[in-house]
């Protein structure tokens, strides 16, 4: 992504108001003082276009070239669709659990044993979700060669448990927070707290002092309405 394209994308993400205040429990079960509701970005067709093009470019440069794009249920589905349409690379999707009826399986779509797959999703946080998807795809005879996401929350470069598999992304949470601050859409207090959380997410799970800090700055944070 060129610096200009990245800036344009960050501007779009800021407009989509995906950065919100916590505390929230993320899908992974982690307690978060600040939170990304990144699904809000899907409602801007311009963002969909950028996702398809830019993530598509990354995937087209991969060597060896993948045979398939796999979307992770559920938020990975729109991302996989866009990338597939921009690259012409066929799409499949992978479920968290089987539906238990119908023509339903853990992996949906057309694929063949031994196919090389790029797993795509909206975001990458701690990697447990991706790890589970990769394990499922592997069971179905598919070889995951890379993970590509729109937002890499903690800028992790590898998938835990599958350290050979690289992670590619368009923007990180840190970049978004810095951009919002630069545009005076995010206070310095909240930026500081966010950067600390992004650096030490596991510490935030149990550190009372840090949550006291959050309580202290919360009144100021309330002024941030995500706009």
């Amino acid at each position: 992504m060129t610096p200009t394209a990245k800036k344009r994308f960050l501007k779009k993400l800021a407009q989509a108001k995906i950065f919100i205040l916590g505390p929230k429990v993320a899908t992974t079960g982690a307690r978060c003082p600040v939170f990304l509701d990144q699904r809000r970005m899907f409602s801007d067709p311009e963002i969909l276009k950028i996702i398809g093009q830019e993530l598509g470019k990354i995937i087209q440069q991969l060597k060896p070239a993948p045979d398939l794009i796999a979307g992770g249920e559920t938020a990975g589905l729109p991302v996989a669709t866009l990338v597939s349409l921009f690259t012409n690379c066929p799409m499949i999707y992978v479920r968290k659990e089987a539906k238990g009826h119908g023509i339903s399986n853990l992996v949906e779509g057309q694929y063949h044993q031994g196919a090389k797959v790029v797993l795509v999703d909206d975001a990458f946080s701690f990697g447990q979700g991706k790890r589970a998807f990769i394990t499922t795809l592997k069971k179905f005879g598919l070889k995951v060669i890379a993970v590509a996401v729109v937002i890499n929350c903690f800028e992790r470069r590898r998938v835990p448990g599958y350290l050979r598999i690289p992670v590619y992304w368009l923007v990180s949470w840190r970049e978004l927070a810095l951009y919002l601050n630069q545009q005076q859409l995010l206070s310095h207090d909240l930026l500081e707290l966010t950067l600390d959380f992004l650096k030490n997410p596991s510490v935030w799970q149990s550190d009372k002092k840090r949550w006291e800090w959050w309580q202290r700055v919360k009144p100021k944070l309330d002024k941030y309405d995500g706009k």
Binding site: S43, L77, P78, T81, Y93
Partner: protein, 235 residues
Amino acid sequence: MIKDQLLQTVCQVENYLCLSPILTSVGPIPFSQDNRILFSHPPVFRQIIKALADKMHQEKLKVDFLVGAETAGIPIAAALSLETDIPFIYVHKKRKQKGNMSFGQGDFEKGSVACLIDDVISAGRTKKLLINNLQEEGIKVCDILVIWAVSAHFWTKEWGWIRRNGLRLHYLFTMEELTSAQIKYRGLSPQLGKTMLDFVRFPETWQGNNEKWRKYIHEIEKLNIKPPKFISELL
């Protein structure tokens, strides 16, 4: 004519039509057409999206959002959003228990008007559930758009609520049109075609009807398709 061209394209997708019986939530069905296979064929998928966008234009749909029904409706709605520039959201069957704890995912406002998008409609029970979920989020669904709809009265008789609630249902083709096209373009025998269309029109008469199942199995065995185990237990 355009419809026939699309049907021809769709029917040429390898493995889209599965002639081997499968077990579903409503019991065994002799053959199936797995729409998710279409997602793995970008050129075909693109034509379907184009046809859906044309349909929306022809039928003058005016909505704030395209809502993808979990799960197969999501790729369709996302691609259609790109084609039409109408914002996209998606809806869960069950409320998300973590994160934003919502049924609806995306950037939407209460009072919005939406079109629910899915791959197929049968009795429409899932559609009803999703429309109720969206209502809880303050979104009013006024249109339902799918690739194809079942034809049997056994299913369509349950559609009364759609009209009663002032909803409009749009689809590209019926299951009967799709199945007839499969028979034509896949060059299936008239005997097999006849039994397939009988299932499409009167699925309820297949329940426990060994004679109909045997006739069907006999026809697919001619194509070297081995029926699954559950069928021999059933007959």
